[in-house]
């Protein structure tokens, strides 16, 4: 038996353009949701942001150029820490070491080149992350967590987004 075709017609080209029209409808702005969400910024914020950021890049504890004298200071502190374990008369020699260190500090040429330091150290000579030295315990905890997060993120950065949320879309 021959199948009956419904006696309806659609305009020519109707189905070819249907998907595009549907997408347009789906992308339409809602008539209920406001187009402006009401957020504002202080006047001139974007004009000054770049300069503001530049000021923070080399200082502010986020990124600090690790200067040669800091290495010298670290080396000095390391020396002082070693002394009690290497001598039978720690107090006397500690004083001696202090005076020698002070003398060395006054007279030595501490203008090391960065590559000299880098060759004798495993530290990255260019940058060291230093946060506020007066950290409270909570802040320190936050900092460590944040840095751990950052390390994780740096591994994931090329591909992944960190979302705690497993809910279905």
């Amino acid at each position: 038996m021959k199948k009956k075709v419904p006696n309806f017609k659609a305009p020519e080209g109707y189905f070819e353009g249907f998907m595009d029209r549907l997408k347009d409808r789906m992308d339409e702005k809602s008539s209920i949701i406001p187009e402006d969400d009401g957020f504002g910024v202080p006047e001139g914020y974007f004009e000054s942001f770049g300069d503001h950021l530049q000021e923070k890049l080399p200082q502010q504890g986020r990124l600090i150029q690790f200067k040669p004298w800091m290495y010298a200071a670290a080396a000095g502190i390391a020396l002082l820490l070693l002394i009690p374990f290497t001598n039978n008369e720690p107090e006397q020699n500690f004083e001696l070491a202090m005076s020698e260190l002070e003398e060395y500090w006054e007279e030595a040429d501490l203008e090391f080149a960065a590559f000299e330091i880098s060759e004798s150290s495993e530290w990255n000579p260019e940058t060291l992350i230093v946060e506020n030295p007066d950290l409270e315990t909570d802040e320190l905890q936050d900092y460590l967590e944040q840095e751990l997060d950052l390390e994780d993120q740096e591994h994931l950065m090329e591909e992944d987004l960190i979302l705690d949320y497993d809910e279905a879309l």
Binding site: S30, P34, D37, P42, F49, L53, E158, E159, Y165
Partner: protein
């Protein structure tokens, strides 16, 4: 779809960003080009202007620190958007822990604070919109804001969030329906 010229231009720009001799100047240009877009992306996640400023700075500092190791497997802008998104979500997580509240409670607190925020110029309907957004799952909220308020293409959102375009469309329409229902009934 990006054309070849854009891709080449981005590769060239990346070379400038990774060369110590040209890095600072190129970075300034990068900040100038992206600061506003990233600001609005972050602002719609953390809501408060000062918090946004902090997160935006952290985002660019992180970009600066890591640009040398960026291999270009993804586009530069989607990489930066991902960093901005991660920074924002980490910030909220920390805030939530500090205040000892859950994520939903934190969202509600942030919306409450908007009422006295000098940099929130919205009226009742816009405040209600934020209340509606606070109820959404984080990913739906992200997709909604990126599509509705930042006019991003699904392909670009997909590159940032790592979710298929089909899933994003579904997510967006769920979000729109929920927000509309909230605005009309509550």
């Amino acid at each position: 779809m990006e054309n070849d010229t854009t891709l080449v231009a981005e590769e060239d720009f990346l070379v400038l960003l990774q060369d110590p001799a040209t890095r600072d100047k190129a970075f300034e240009e990068l900040v100038s080009n992206y600061q506003e877009r990233l600001y609005w992306h972050i602002r719609r996640i953390v809501l408060d202007h000062d918090d946004t400023d902090d997160v935006l700075q952290n985002t660019f500092i992180k970009v600066f620190r890591n640009i040398g190791g960026f291999k270009g497997d993804s586009k530069l802008y989607s990489w930066m958007y991902r960093i901005a998104t991660n920074e924002s979500l980490s910030f909220l997580k920390q805030k939530s822990r500090k205040l000892g509240v859950g994520s939903l409670e934190l969202q509600e607190k942030l919306v409450e604070q908007l009422e006295s925020d000098v940099y929130f110029e919205g009226d009742e309907i816009q405040l209600k919109l934020q209340q509606a957004l606070a109820q959404l799952p984080e990913k739906q909220k992200l997709v909604f804001n990126m599509k509705y308020y930042q006019n991003m293409k699904y392909d670009d959102i997909s590159a940032v969030l790592g979710t298929s375009v089909g899933a994003l469309k579904t997510s967006y329409h769920h979000a729109v329906k929920k927000i509309e229902a909230f605005l009309t009934t509550e």
